[in-house]
């Protein structure tokens, strides 16, 4: 493995740790910070993979990720979502910490081994990105399942998207336009709309515990 490849492997390790940390971090503000770290690691992996051979697509993706996910989204969320949610409140969870960690580890292994099926099809690519991408995608789903607060749920979706692109930069480094466009426009729009919805929820219900909402269901007769 080349020195850049070794560095990328280290980045991938930190990426999966950051994703698992999002499942157990208690404060909403801390969860947002962990997400920023995860986005920085995605950008770092794009720069490392794009260095040799040089790929302007991957460099563009890394720059857009830095701008969009490490700067614009945190700013949007801080601006639109009431500050007290970040400062005072702890996150309620549907699973306790040990059970969440165990589930995250199990999903990491499951994602890793599922990806091996794909990696065999193209031995030359960065297999670590594909494996860790699949593992982090499943752990991102766990973030959505265990969190009941609106902001961490949004961060769970964004973490899943980061995971998909972590695999994507290895398997489709010259993908035409989609990754750059998606991250540059779709993701900030997503954060903006979710933050607006969170504001409406907070104003109408006095809470942002969207995971606990369960009034809409079929009644048994």
């Amino acid at each position: 493995m080349t020195p850049l490849g070794e560095l990328n492997a280290l980045v991938l390790g930190f990426f999966i740790v950051a994703t698992i940390a999002m499942t157990v971090t208690r404060q909403v503000g801390a969860c947002l910070q962990v997400f920023i770290v995860q986005s920085l690691l995605l950008a770092a992996s794009a720069f490392l993979l794009g260095a040799v051979p040089f790929s302007w697509h991957l460099f563009a993706l890394g720059c857009v990720t830095l701008l969009s996910k490490a700067l614009v989204i945190p700013w949007l969320l801080r601006w639109l979502v009431p500050g007290e949610i970040y400062r005072k409140r702890e996150i309620g969870r549907t699973l306790d910490t040990p059970a969440t960690l165990l589930a995250a580890l199990a999903l990491t292994f499951a994602g890793y081994f599922f990806a091996q099926h794909l990696v065999k099809a193209a031995p030359n690519l960065s297999a670590g990105n594909v494996s860790m991408g699949f593992a982090a995608l499943l752990v991102g789903l766990l973030v959505l399942a265990v969190r009941v607060e609106a902001v961490p749920q949004l961060l769970g979706i964004l973490a899943m998207e980061n995971a998909a692109f972590l695999a994507g930069i290895a398997i489709a480094p010259d993908f035409p336009l989609i990754a750059e466009l998606a991250i540059a426009f779709d993701v900030p729009l997503l954060a903006f709309i979710v933050a607006l919805l969170t504001r409406i929820a907070y104003r109408r219900m006095g809470t942002t515990e969207v995971g606990a909402l369960s009034t809409l269901r079929e009644r048994s007769r």
Partner: protein, 475 residues
């Protein structure tokens, strides 16, 4: 010319976003949607015998299948604009402006899907359909509406994230096969050379990812909630054409996946389709909210279309496109009728609506007509399309599929009829509000093709359905 269609919706959205445009916003939306529909109709007419319109090679291209979908979206956009005019007229100017700006943006995202041929861009616009409709679903700003919008957003965005991985893997497969022509035609041309393991994983990810957006069982949890809480014209768009537009993406990829015989795409489609039809027909029986009733019917119809696509014969492909058309026309009518009932009765609960016929014969008639139409009663358009699916299944010797479909369709029909007739008859105890004229006009316009295409399919429409079926693949 095809770019003009979504561009007009975008211009209407920008106009409605201008401050102080509040009271004029409904007019701008109706005018914009009408022009959009007229141009889409002209595009459909010019592509009715086949061919492709190319605006930007590899990015913006349209064939007859895309043209059918474009015309359907534009028609529902037009009737939904008319209905919105009457339905939301009591709201203040600012909220009205916000609604119409959002509504036009939502239409823009949907109208763009059939115009595009590059899969990455298609994925972006599919995601945009969710993002631009979330605030429409939560428009009432009640706790229930926020809950519905949240569920809708989370589940469909999880689906979009799973689907993007499928899109990336498909691109990888194409790249491995030596091509970068990531369009519908490019993928089909190189389908046989795509590495099997990659195609298999991409198929699963795309079916699950887009399936969540379509509302296929078991990924349908958001659909009844969003449809019960969103304003009725938004429901017409969501249910009538948004789900169909996303299903169109899966149908477009069907033959790419089918090039791998070990994948058994037909079996997957029929199992998922029949499960959706079956589960939805039972859910219809226990619905307590008449908008949820029609939402479950959407799940049923998405399953029907997927099952029709699993037949893999020329007749099956025409039936698939026919069912897409029938569903979009009849389902939008149903939601306008449901919106009219909500205006008259002020409640969504089936148990609280009695004596609708005595209170408002027009609304009761429209509601019953809509329910009969979507249930598949003759001589409406859904009856013919469902008959075409069953006949295609029998011709292809898929007897088990035909029998199960018949059972589930009959069950859903009687479930719908049972629920609707209890609301129409009985003791009159409704508050007695009047239906706005624009709402009545929208219902009348939406009802015309539902009945006309049931008794007489004009030659041009038949040609368009046939060409669209050919574009789907098997002819």
């Amino acid at each position: 010319m095809i770019v003009a269609v979504p561009a007009i919706a975008l211009c209407a959205a920008l106009w409605c976003a201008i401050p102080r445009s509040g009271r004029a916003a409904p007019l701008v939306t109706v005018a914009g949607s009408f022009v959009t529909f007229a141009i889409s109709g002209w595009i459909l007419w010019s592509l009715r015998l086949g061919g492709t319109v190319v605006t930007a090679v590899g990015w913006i291209e349209m064939d007859s299948l895309g043209a059918v979908l474009l015309a359907l979206i534009a028609f529902v956009y037009f009737t939904a604009s008319l209905f919105s005019w009457g339905y939301l007229n009591a709201d203040d100017g600012r909220r009205l402006r916000q609604y119409h700006a959002n509504f036009n943006l939502f239409a823009f995202s949907m109208l763009s899907i059939p115009c595009l041929s590059e899969l990455g861009l298609v994925w972006i616009f599919v995601e945009l359909t969710t993002l631009l409709s979330v605030l429409l679903v939560s428009y009432e700003q009640t706790a229930e509406a926020v809950e519905a919008a949240w569920k809708y957003m989370v589940l469909t965005l999880i689906g979009a994230t799973v689907a993007v991985l499928g899109v990336l893997i498909l691109f990888w497969a194409l790249h491995t096969a030596g091509s970068t022509d990531f369009t519908w035609s490019g993928l089909r041309m190189h389908a046989a050379a795509l590495p099997r393991p990659l195609v298999e994983v991409a198929f699963v990810l795309l079916l699950v990812g887009y399936g969540a957006k379509i509302g296929l069982v078991p990924l349908h949890a958001w659909l009844p909630d969003a449809h019960s809480q969103a304003p009725s014209p938004v429901c017409a768009m969501l249910s009538g054409v948004e789900t169909t537009a996303v299903l169109y993406v899966i149908l477009r990829l069907r033959d790419v996946f089918a090039s791998d015989p070990s994948l058994h795409v037909g079996i997957w489609f029929s199992v998922v389709g029949l499960t959706s039809v079956g589960v939805a027909s039972f859910l219809i029986l226990q619905a307590h909210d008449y908008k949820r009733l029609f939402a479950f019917s959407t799940v049923e119809h998405m399953g029907l279309i997927l099952t029709a696509a699993s037949i893999f014969t020329p007749a099956g492909d025409i039936a698939t496109v026919w069912q897409m058309l029938a569903h979009s026309l009849a389902k939008s009518l149903c939601f306008y009728a449901a919106g009219a009932v909500l205006v008259i009765a002020g409640t969504r609960e089936i148990a609280n609506v009695r004596g609708l016929l005595a209170e408002s014969p027009t609304t009761a008639g429209a509601f019953l007509f809509g329910a009969l139409a979507i249930g598949g009663a003759p001589p409406m358009v859904v009856f013919l399309s469902e008959l075409a699916i069953l006949w295609s299944a029998l011709q292809a010797r898929l007897y088990a599929v035909a029998v199960l479909l018949t059972l589930f369709i009959v069950l859903a029909f009687f479930g719908l009829l049972w629920r609707v007739t209890t609301m129409i008859g009985g003791e009159h105890r409704l508050p007695g509000r009047r239906l706005p004229a624009a709402c009545a006009l929208a219902i009348a316009v939406a009802a015309i093709p539902v009945i006309v295409f049931g008794v007489w399919l004009p030659g041009g429409i038949y040609d368009a359905l046939r060409s669209a079926g050919q574009a789907l693949g098997a002819l």
